[in-house]
Amino acid sequence: MSKISRRKFLAGSMAGGAAVMMSPAKKALASGSFDGFPDGMGVLVDLTRCVGCRTCEAACNKEQKLPDPALPFDDYSVFDELHLGQKRRTTDKAYTVVNRYETESSTAPVYRKIQCNHCNEPTCLTSCFVNAYTKTPEGAVIYNPKVCVGCRNCMIACPFHIPAYSYDSVLNPVIKKCVFCYDTRLKNGKPPACVESCPQQVMTFGKRKELLKIAHERIRKNPDKYVDQIYGEKEVGGTGWFYISNVPFEEAGFDQDLPKEPIINNVKGFLAIVPMVLTIWPALFTGFHLLSTKGKSHSHGDENGHDGQEGQ
Protein backbone atom coordinates (compact mmCIF):
# COMPACT_ATOMS: atom_id res chain seq x y z
CA MET A 1 0.00 0.00 0.00
CA SER A 2 2.74 2.41 0.96
CA LYS A 3 4.77 1.57 -2.22
CA ILE A 4 1.84 2.42 -4.40
CA SER A 5 1.39 5.66 -2.52
CA ARG A 6 5.00 6.68 -3.08
CA ARG A 7 4.73 5.94 -6.77
CA LYS A 8 1.61 8.00 -6.93
CA PHE A 9 3.34 10.75 -5.04
CA LEU A 10 6.23 10.88 -7.51
CA ALA A 11 3.89 10.80 -10.48
CA GLY A 12 1.84 13.56 -8.98
CA SER A 13 4.94 15.68 -8.39
CA MET A 14 6.08 15.17 -11.97
CA ALA A 15 2.69 16.11 -13.32
CA GLY A 16 2.58 19.17 -11.11
CA GLY A 17 6.05 20.24 -12.21
CA ALA A 18 5.14 19.79 -15.84
CA ALA A 19 1.98 21.81 -15.37
CA VAL A 20 3.97 24.64 -13.82
CA MET A 21 6.45 24.62 -16.69
CA MET A 22 3.78 24.70 -19.36
CA SER A 23 1.12 26.99 -18.02
CA PRO A 24 0.73 30.63 -16.97
CA ALA A 25 3.95 30.75 -14.93
CA LYS A 26 6.00 30.52 -18.10
CA LYS A 27 4.01 33.31 -19.71
CA ALA A 28 4.45 35.48 -16.65
CA LEU A 29 8.20 34.90 -16.50
CA ALA A 30 8.64 35.56 -20.23
CA SER A 31 6.80 38.87 -20.00
CA GLY A 32 9.42 40.14 -17.58
CA SER A 33 11.78 41.01 -20.41
CA PHE A 34 9.10 42.21 -22.83
CA ASP A 35 9.90 45.69 -24.08
CA GLY A 36 7.43 46.01 -26.91
CA PHE A 37 6.94 44.20 -30.19
CA PRO A 38 10.02 44.64 -32.42
CA ASP A 39 8.07 46.37 -35.18
CA GLY A 40 5.56 48.04 -32.89
CA MET A 41 4.61 51.51 -34.04
CA GLY A 42 4.59 54.54 -31.81
CA VAL A 43 4.22 58.29 -31.80
CA LEU A 44 6.71 60.89 -30.60
CA VAL A 45 4.89 63.92 -29.17
CA ASP A 46 6.96 67.11 -29.10
CA LEU A 47 5.31 69.55 -26.69
CA THR A 48 7.50 72.42 -27.91
CA ARG A 49 5.63 72.40 -31.22
CA CYS A 50 2.04 72.34 -29.99
CA VAL A 51 0.11 75.61 -30.30
CA GLY A 52 -3.18 74.31 -28.92
CA CYS A 53 -5.25 74.53 -32.10
CA ARG A 54 -7.29 71.42 -31.18
CA THR A 55 -7.28 70.14 -34.77
CA CYS A 56 -6.30 66.69 -33.44
CA GLU A 57 -9.42 66.64 -31.29
CA ALA A 58 -11.60 67.43 -34.31
CA ALA A 59 -9.82 64.80 -36.42
CA CYS A 60 -10.32 62.16 -33.71
CA ASN A 61 -14.00 63.05 -33.42
CA LYS A 62 -14.49 62.61 -37.17
CA GLU A 63 -12.39 59.46 -37.55
CA GLN A 64 -13.95 57.64 -34.60
CA LYS A 65 -17.47 58.90 -35.43
CA LEU A 66 -17.88 60.37 -31.97
CA PRO A 67 -20.95 62.45 -31.02
CA ASP A 68 -21.08 66.19 -31.69
CA PRO A 69 -19.02 68.23 -29.23
CA ALA A 70 -20.62 70.62 -26.74
CA LEU A 71 -18.45 73.45 -28.05
CA PRO A 72 -16.80 74.00 -31.46
CA PHE A 73 -13.31 72.57 -31.80
CA ASP A 74 -11.94 76.06 -32.49
CA ASP A 75 -13.33 77.36 -29.19
CA TYR A 76 -10.32 77.89 -26.94
CA SER A 77 -12.29 78.66 -23.80
CA VAL A 78 -12.12 74.93 -23.03
CA PHE A 79 -8.55 75.46 -21.84
CA ASP A 80 -9.96 77.41 -18.88
CA GLU A 81 -12.39 74.63 -17.95
CA LEU A 82 -11.89 72.93 -14.63
CA HIS A 83 -13.86 69.85 -13.66
CA LEU A 84 -13.67 69.33 -9.90
CA GLY A 85 -10.40 71.22 -9.95
CA GLN A 86 -8.96 69.07 -12.73
CA LYS A 87 -8.17 69.98 -16.31
CA ARG A 88 -10.10 68.22 -19.05
CA ARG A 89 -9.80 64.46 -19.27
CA THR A 90 -10.55 61.93 -21.98
CA THR A 91 -14.18 60.84 -22.04
CA ASP A 92 -16.35 58.36 -23.90
CA LYS A 93 -17.04 61.22 -26.36
CA ALA A 94 -13.47 62.53 -26.71
CA TYR A 95 -10.62 60.04 -26.92
CA THR A 96 -8.02 62.79 -26.95
CA VAL A 97 -7.95 66.28 -25.41
CA VAL A 98 -5.44 69.12 -25.36
CA ASN A 99 -4.82 71.04 -22.16
CA ARG A 100 -2.94 74.29 -21.56
CA TYR A 101 -0.41 74.69 -18.77
CA GLU A 102 1.04 77.96 -17.51
CA THR A 103 4.47 76.96 -16.28
CA GLU A 104 7.26 78.55 -14.28
CA SER A 105 9.94 77.45 -16.72
CA SER A 106 8.40 78.92 -19.85
CA THR A 107 6.85 82.30 -20.55
CA ALA A 108 4.70 80.84 -23.31
CA PRO A 109 1.98 78.38 -22.28
CA VAL A 110 2.66 74.69 -22.85
CA TYR A 111 0.01 72.58 -24.52
CA ARG A 112 -0.22 68.89 -23.82
CA LYS A 113 -2.29 66.41 -25.81
CA ILE A 114 -3.42 63.36 -23.90
CA GLN A 115 -4.72 60.08 -25.25
CA CYS A 116 -4.02 56.41 -24.60
CA ASN A 117 -0.24 56.00 -24.46
CA HIS A 118 -0.43 52.38 -25.68
CA CYS A 119 1.90 50.90 -23.06
CA ASN A 120 4.23 48.04 -23.90
CA GLU A 121 2.78 46.19 -20.90
CA PRO A 122 -0.64 47.74 -20.42
CA THR A 123 -2.04 47.69 -16.92
CA CYS A 124 -5.58 47.95 -18.27
CA LEU A 125 -4.98 44.67 -20.09
CA THR A 126 -3.57 43.04 -16.96
CA SER A 127 -6.47 44.20 -14.83
CA CYS A 128 -9.18 43.00 -17.21
CA PHE A 129 -10.56 39.65 -16.04
CA VAL A 130 -12.63 39.05 -19.18
CA ASN A 131 -9.59 39.61 -21.43
CA ALA A 132 -11.24 42.43 -23.38
CA TYR A 133 -7.91 44.14 -24.07
CA THR A 134 -5.28 43.17 -26.65
CA LYS A 135 -1.83 44.61 -27.33
CA THR A 136 -1.45 44.14 -31.09
CA PRO A 137 1.93 43.54 -32.77
CA GLU A 138 1.44 46.92 -34.49
CA GLY A 139 1.60 48.54 -31.07
CA ALA A 140 -2.04 49.44 -30.40
CA VAL A 141 -3.87 48.60 -27.20
CA ILE A 142 -7.36 47.75 -28.39
CA TYR A 143 -10.37 46.31 -26.62
CA ASN A 144 -13.39 44.21 -27.42
CA PRO A 145 -16.54 45.97 -26.17
CA LYS A 146 -18.58 42.81 -26.77
CA VAL A 147 -17.00 41.03 -23.81
CA CYS A 148 -16.65 44.10 -21.57
CA VAL A 149 -18.79 43.62 -18.48
CA GLY A 150 -18.35 47.19 -17.29
CA CYS A 151 -16.37 46.45 -14.12
CA ARG A 152 -14.16 49.52 -14.70
CA ASN A 153 -11.07 47.86 -13.22
CA CYS A 154 -9.06 49.23 -16.15
CA MET A 155 -10.09 52.78 -15.29
CA ILE A 156 -8.57 52.33 -11.85
CA ALA A 157 -5.55 50.43 -13.15
CA CYS A 158 -4.48 52.90 -15.88
CA PRO A 159 -1.64 55.07 -14.58
CA PHE A 160 -2.63 57.81 -17.05
CA HIS A 161 -6.39 57.83 -16.24
CA ILE A 162 -7.35 57.29 -19.88
CA PRO A 163 -10.15 54.67 -20.22
CA ALA A 164 -13.56 56.33 -19.93
CA TYR A 165 -16.97 54.83 -19.34
CA SER A 166 -20.13 55.44 -21.33
CA TYR A 167 -22.28 56.26 -18.31
CA ASP A 168 -24.91 57.71 -20.67
CA SER A 169 -25.66 54.31 -22.15
CA VAL A 170 -28.40 52.68 -20.12
CA LEU A 171 -28.51 49.28 -21.76
CA ASN A 172 -24.92 48.56 -22.70
CA PRO A 173 -22.38 50.81 -20.99
CA VAL A 174 -18.83 49.96 -22.03
CA ILE A 175 -15.30 51.30 -21.76
CA LYS A 176 -14.20 53.76 -24.45
CA LYS A 177 -10.70 54.93 -25.24
CA CYS A 178 -8.23 55.78 -27.99
CA VAL A 179 -7.39 52.67 -30.04
CA PHE A 180 -4.58 54.19 -32.16
CA CYS A 181 -7.15 54.23 -35.02
CA TYR A 182 -6.35 50.52 -35.25
CA ASP A 183 -9.32 49.31 -37.32
CA THR A 184 -9.44 52.18 -39.78
CA ARG A 185 -5.77 53.09 -40.13
CA LEU A 186 -2.99 51.48 -38.14
CA LYS A 187 -3.52 47.92 -39.33
CA ASN A 188 -3.22 49.24 -42.90
CA GLY A 189 0.04 50.95 -42.02
CA LYS A 190 -1.44 54.44 -41.84
CA PRO A 191 -0.83 56.91 -39.01
CA PRO A 192 -3.74 57.78 -36.72
CA ALA A 193 -6.04 60.65 -37.72
CA CYS A 194 -4.75 63.09 -35.09
CA VAL A 195 -1.16 62.66 -36.27
CA GLU A 196 -2.10 63.29 -39.88
CA SER A 197 -4.20 66.35 -39.07
CA CYS A 198 -1.63 68.20 -36.98
CA PRO A 199 -0.42 71.37 -38.73
CA GLN A 200 2.78 71.52 -36.66
CA GLN A 201 3.70 67.82 -36.74
CA VAL A 202 3.70 67.80 -32.97
CA MET A 203 3.31 64.06 -33.40
CA THR A 204 5.74 61.97 -35.42
CA PHE A 205 4.58 58.48 -36.35
CA GLY A 206 6.92 55.58 -36.91
CA LYS A 207 8.47 52.47 -35.41
CA ARG A 208 8.81 53.01 -31.69
CA LYS A 209 12.48 52.10 -31.67
CA GLU A 210 13.33 54.51 -34.49
CA LEU A 211 11.30 57.30 -32.89
CA LEU A 212 13.27 56.93 -29.68
CA LYS A 213 16.45 57.57 -31.66
CA ILE A 214 14.89 60.67 -33.23
CA ALA A 215 13.78 61.91 -29.80
CA HIS A 216 17.29 61.45 -28.40
CA GLU A 217 18.71 63.26 -31.42
CA ARG A 218 16.41 66.25 -30.96
CA ILE A 219 17.43 66.54 -27.32
CA ARG A 220 21.10 66.10 -28.15
CA LYS A 221 21.06 68.77 -30.86
CA ASN A 222 19.02 71.26 -28.81
CA PRO A 223 20.16 70.83 -25.21
CA ASP A 224 18.97 74.34 -24.32
CA LYS A 225 15.53 73.75 -25.75
CA TYR A 226 14.56 70.39 -24.28
CA VAL A 227 14.70 68.89 -20.79
CA ASP A 228 16.78 65.74 -20.86
CA GLN A 229 13.99 63.22 -20.49
CA ILE A 230 11.75 61.22 -22.79
CA TYR A 231 8.53 60.68 -20.88
CA GLY A 232 7.38 57.20 -21.78
CA GLU A 233 10.74 55.72 -22.73
CA LYS A 234 10.92 53.92 -19.40
CA GLU A 235 7.78 54.94 -17.50
CA VAL A 236 5.66 51.91 -16.60
CA GLY A 237 7.92 49.75 -18.75
CA GLY A 238 7.77 52.00 -21.81
CA THR A 239 4.83 53.42 -23.73
CA GLY A 240 4.09 53.45 -27.45
CA TRP A 241 3.40 57.18 -27.33
CA PHE A 242 6.06 59.23 -25.60
CA TYR A 243 6.78 62.90 -25.03
CA ILE A 244 9.64 65.39 -25.15
CA SER A 245 9.26 68.83 -23.60
CA ASN A 246 10.86 72.21 -23.01
CA VAL A 247 9.60 72.34 -19.41
CA PRO A 248 10.06 69.79 -16.62
CA PHE A 249 7.34 67.23 -17.17
CA GLU A 250 5.72 67.66 -13.76
CA GLU A 251 4.98 71.29 -14.68
CA ALA A 252 2.93 70.09 -17.65
CA GLY A 253 0.84 67.77 -15.53
CA PHE A 254 2.81 64.54 -16.02
CA ASP A 255 3.05 62.10 -13.12
CA GLN A 256 6.78 61.78 -12.41
CA ASP A 257 6.25 59.26 -9.61
CA LEU A 258 5.35 56.38 -11.89
CA PRO A 259 7.63 53.33 -11.66
CA LYS A 260 10.17 52.75 -14.40
CA GLU A 261 9.06 49.16 -14.84
CA PRO A 262 5.75 47.58 -15.79
CA ILE A 263 3.17 47.80 -13.04
CA ILE A 264 2.50 44.08 -13.39
CA ASN A 265 5.99 43.48 -11.98
CA ASN A 266 4.56 44.35 -8.56
CA VAL A 267 2.48 41.20 -8.57
CA LYS A 268 4.20 38.99 -11.11
CA GLY A 269 6.23 37.04 -8.55
CA PHE A 270 3.11 36.30 -6.59
CA LEU A 271 1.05 35.41 -9.66
CA ALA A 272 3.74 33.02 -10.88
CA ILE A 273 3.59 31.12 -7.60
CA VAL A 274 -0.17 30.60 -7.67
CA PRO A 275 -0.23 27.74 -10.20
CA MET A 276 2.74 26.15 -8.42
CA VAL A 277 0.91 26.22 -5.09
CA LEU A 278 -2.23 24.82 -6.64
CA THR A 279 -0.52 21.95 -8.48
CA ILE A 280 2.59 20.96 -6.54
CA TRP A 281 1.63 21.60 -2.96
CA PRO A 282 -1.28 19.12 -2.74
CA ALA A 283 0.83 16.33 -4.19
CA LEU A 284 3.93 17.30 -2.23
CA PHE A 285 2.32 17.54 1.17
CA THR A 286 0.19 14.48 0.58
CA GLY A 287 3.44 12.66 -0.13
CA PHE A 288 5.06 14.02 3.03
CA HIS A 289 2.05 13.01 5.00
CA LEU A 290 2.06 9.50 3.57
CA LEU A 291 5.80 9.12 4.20
CA SER A 292 5.56 10.41 7.72
CA THR A 293 2.64 8.12 8.49
CA LYS A 294 4.24 5.14 6.70
CA GLY A 295 3.50 1.93 8.53
CA LYS A 296 1.22 3.72 10.96
CA SER A 297 -1.76 3.80 8.65
CA HIS A 298 -3.07 0.39 9.76
CA SER A 299 -3.03 1.29 13.40
CA HIS A 300 -4.85 4.57 12.62
CA GLY A 301 -7.30 2.77 10.36
CA ASP A 302 -7.96 5.77 8.08
CA GLU A 303 -6.70 4.59 4.65
CA ASN A 304 -9.85 5.80 3.02
CA GLY A 305 -9.01 9.35 4.03
CA HIS A 306 -5.51 9.14 2.50
CA ASP A 307 -6.84 7.68 -0.73
CA GLY A 308 -9.24 10.53 -1.00
CA GLN A 309 -6.44 13.09 -0.72
CA GLU A 310 -4.23 11.33 -3.22
CA GLY A 311 -7.00 11.39 -5.74
CA GLN A 312 -6.73 15.16 -6.03
Binding site: K62, P69, A70, P72, D74, D75, Q200, E217
Partner: protein, 173 residues
Protein backbone atom coordinates in the same frame (compact mmCIF):
# COMPACT_ATOMS: atom_id res chain seq x y z
CA UNK B 1 25.45 72.46 -77.31
CA UNK B 2 25.50 70.58 -74.08
CA UNK B 3 25.71 73.86 -72.20
CA UNK B 4 22.68 75.20 -74.06
CA UNK B 5 20.68 72.10 -73.24
CA UNK B 6 21.59 72.38 -69.61
CA UNK B 7 20.62 76.02 -69.58
CA UNK B 8 17.31 75.17 -71.18
CA UNK B 9 16.55 72.61 -68.51
CA UNK B 10 17.57 75.04 -65.81
CA UNK B 11 15.28 77.73 -67.17
CA UNK B 12 12.38 75.34 -67.60
CA UNK B 13 12.87 74.21 -64.04
CA UNK B 14 12.96 77.80 -62.87
CA UNK B 15 9.72 78.65 -64.65
CA UNK B 16 8.06 75.56 -63.22
CA UNK B 17 9.25 76.27 -59.73
CA UNK B 18 8.09 79.87 -59.81
CA UNK B 19 4.56 78.48 -59.81
CA UNK B 20 5.28 77.28 -56.31
CA UNK B 21 7.46 78.82 -53.66
CA UNK B 22 10.38 79.08 -56.03
CA UNK B 23 12.58 81.94 -55.04
CA UNK B 24 16.24 82.62 -55.31
CA UNK B 25 17.26 85.86 -53.73
CA UNK B 26 20.38 86.50 -55.73
CA UNK B 27 20.25 84.69 -59.01
CA UNK B 28 16.83 85.80 -60.16
CA UNK B 29 14.04 88.11 -59.22
CA UNK B 30 11.94 86.68 -56.49
CA UNK B 31 8.15 86.87 -56.69
CA UNK B 32 6.47 89.52 -54.59
CA UNK B 33 3.61 87.20 -53.81
CA UNK B 34 3.41 83.44 -53.58
CA UNK B 35 0.15 81.58 -53.36
CA UNK B 36 0.59 78.62 -51.05
CA UNK B 37 -2.45 76.47 -51.68
CA UNK B 38 -1.33 72.94 -52.55
CA UNK B 39 -2.68 71.68 -49.21
CA UNK B 40 -5.78 73.90 -49.03
CA UNK B 41 -8.61 71.85 -47.62
CA UNK B 42 -10.00 72.88 -44.24
CA UNK B 43 -8.53 76.34 -44.78
CA UNK B 44 -8.11 78.48 -47.90
CA UNK B 45 -4.65 78.84 -49.35
CA UNK B 46 -2.37 81.62 -48.17
CA UNK B 47 -1.36 84.53 -50.36
CA UNK B 48 2.11 84.94 -48.98
CA UNK B 49 3.58 88.44 -49.11
CA UNK B 50 7.06 87.38 -50.09
CA UNK B 51 8.36 90.89 -50.72
CA UNK B 52 7.44 91.99 -47.21
CA UNK B 53 9.18 88.95 -45.72
CA UNK B 54 12.31 89.60 -47.76
CA UNK B 55 12.37 93.04 -46.16
CA UNK B 56 11.62 91.69 -42.70
CA UNK B 57 14.23 88.95 -42.60
CA UNK B 58 17.96 89.35 -42.50
CA UNK B 59 18.82 86.47 -44.73
CA UNK B 60 17.13 84.13 -47.21
CA UNK B 61 18.50 81.20 -45.21
CA UNK B 62 16.19 82.17 -42.32
CA UNK B 63 13.49 80.35 -44.27
CA UNK B 64 15.23 78.63 -47.18
CA UNK B 65 17.95 76.77 -45.23
CA UNK B 66 20.94 76.23 -47.53
CA UNK B 67 19.23 76.41 -50.92
CA UNK B 68 19.49 80.10 -51.85
CA UNK B 69 23.23 80.63 -51.84
CA UNK B 70 23.48 82.36 -48.49
CA UNK B 71 25.35 81.01 -45.49
CA UNK B 72 23.17 78.66 -43.47
CA UNK B 73 22.66 79.63 -39.84
CA UNK B 74 22.14 76.21 -38.26
CA UNK B 75 25.45 74.73 -37.14
CA UNK B 76 24.37 71.17 -37.91
CA UNK B 77 23.32 72.05 -41.46
CA UNK B 78 26.55 73.99 -41.95
CA UNK B 79 28.62 70.85 -41.35
CA UNK B 80 27.77 69.68 -44.87
CA UNK B 81 26.19 72.71 -46.52
CA UNK B 82 29.00 75.15 -45.79
CA UNK B 83 29.66 76.16 -49.37
CA UNK B 84 26.48 78.17 -49.50
CA UNK B 85 25.92 76.82 -52.97
CA UNK B 86 22.79 77.98 -54.69
CA UNK B 87 20.47 75.13 -55.64
CA UNK B 88 17.91 74.62 -58.37
CA UNK B 89 15.39 73.62 -55.74
CA UNK B 90 14.17 76.32 -53.41
CA UNK B 91 10.47 75.59 -52.93
CA UNK B 92 9.38 73.93 -49.70
CA UNK B 93 7.50 71.11 -51.37
CA UNK B 94 10.43 69.96 -53.46
CA UNK B 95 12.07 68.57 -50.32
CA UNK B 96 9.23 68.34 -47.80
CA UNK B 97 6.84 65.62 -48.90
CA UNK B 98 3.17 66.36 -48.35
CA UNK B 99 2.52 62.89 -47.03
CA UNK B 100 5.72 61.12 -45.96
CA UNK B 101 3.72 58.77 -43.76
CA UNK B 102 1.55 57.24 -46.47
CA UNK B 103 1.92 53.46 -46.65
CA UNK B 104 3.60 53.87 -50.05
CA UNK B 105 6.09 56.46 -48.85
CA UNK B 106 6.91 54.60 -45.63
CA UNK B 107 8.31 51.77 -47.70
CA UNK B 108 10.58 53.98 -49.78
CA UNK B 109 14.07 53.58 -48.37
CA UNK B 110 15.07 56.91 -46.91
CA UNK B 111 18.49 58.41 -47.33
CA UNK B 112 20.84 57.60 -44.53
CA UNK B 113 21.86 61.17 -43.85
CA UNK B 114 21.43 61.42 -40.13
CA UNK B 115 20.30 65.02 -40.26
CA UNK B 116 17.61 64.43 -42.86
CA UNK B 117 15.82 61.65 -40.97
CA UNK B 118 13.75 64.01 -38.86
CA UNK B 119 12.41 66.09 -41.75
CA UNK B 120 8.91 67.48 -41.15
CA UNK B 121 6.14 66.96 -43.68
CA UNK B 122 5.09 69.85 -45.94
CA UNK B 123 2.24 71.11 -43.76
CA UNK B 124 4.51 71.15 -40.72
CA UNK B 125 7.39 72.68 -42.68
CA UNK B 126 5.18 75.66 -43.52
CA UNK B 127 3.71 76.04 -40.06
CA UNK B 128 6.87 75.42 -38.05
CA UNK B 129 8.76 77.88 -40.23
CA UNK B 130 6.09 80.58 -40.04
CA UNK B 131 4.91 80.06 -36.47
CA UNK B 132 8.37 79.65 -35.03
CA UNK B 133 9.30 83.11 -36.26
CA UNK B 134 5.91 84.74 -35.70
CA UNK B 135 5.90 83.74 -32.05
CA UNK B 136 9.29 85.38 -31.60
CA UNK B 137 8.64 88.62 -33.48
CA UNK B 138 4.98 89.01 -32.61
CA UNK B 139 3.56 88.15 -36.02
CA UNK B 140 0.07 86.71 -36.40
CA UNK B 141 -0.28 83.23 -34.87
CA UNK B 142 -4.02 82.54 -35.00
CA UNK B 143 -5.18 80.02 -37.63
CA UNK B 144 -7.51 82.47 -39.35
CA UNK B 145 -5.03 85.34 -39.17
CA UNK B 146 -3.38 83.78 -42.23
CA UNK B 147 -6.07 81.71 -43.92
CA UNK B 148 -9.86 81.67 -43.75
CA UNK B 149 -11.73 78.47 -42.94
CA UNK B 150 -13.46 76.76 -45.83
CA UNK B 151 -16.93 75.28 -45.60
CA UNK B 152 -15.31 71.86 -45.09
CA UNK B 153 -13.24 73.41 -42.33
CA UNK B 154 -16.28 74.78 -40.52
CA UNK B 155 -17.94 71.38 -40.71
CA UNK B 156 -14.75 69.73 -39.45
CA UNK B 157 -14.41 72.07 -36.46
CA UNK B 158 -18.18 72.28 -35.78
CA UNK B 159 -17.83 76.04 -36.04
CA UNK B 160 -19.62 78.83 -37.90
CA UNK B 161 -22.94 77.57 -39.22
CA UNK B 162 -22.14 74.05 -38.02
CA UNK B 163 -21.64 75.15 -34.39
CA UNK B 164 -23.44 73.05 -31.77
CA UNK B 165 -26.79 74.54 -30.83
CA UNK B 166 -27.31 76.15 -27.46
CA UNK B 167 -24.04 75.18 -25.82
CA UNK B 168 -25.02 77.42 -22.89
CA UNK B 169 -28.14 75.34 -22.35
CA UNK B 170 -26.10 72.13 -22.24
CA UNK B 171 -23.54 73.49 -19.84
CA UNK B 172 -26.37 74.85 -17.68
CA UNK B 173 -27.06 71.27 -16.61
Amino acid sequence: MAINGKQLITWMGAILLSCFLAVSCYAMDYPDEVEIDSLANLYEGVVFDHAMHVEATEDCSDCHHHTTGTQVANEYCAKCHDGAQEMDIVSCQECHSANPLSPENLHIPRDDYNYHLDKPNLKAAYHLNCMGCHQQVGGPTGCEDCHAKTDDGERFYYSGKYAPEEPAHKSGH
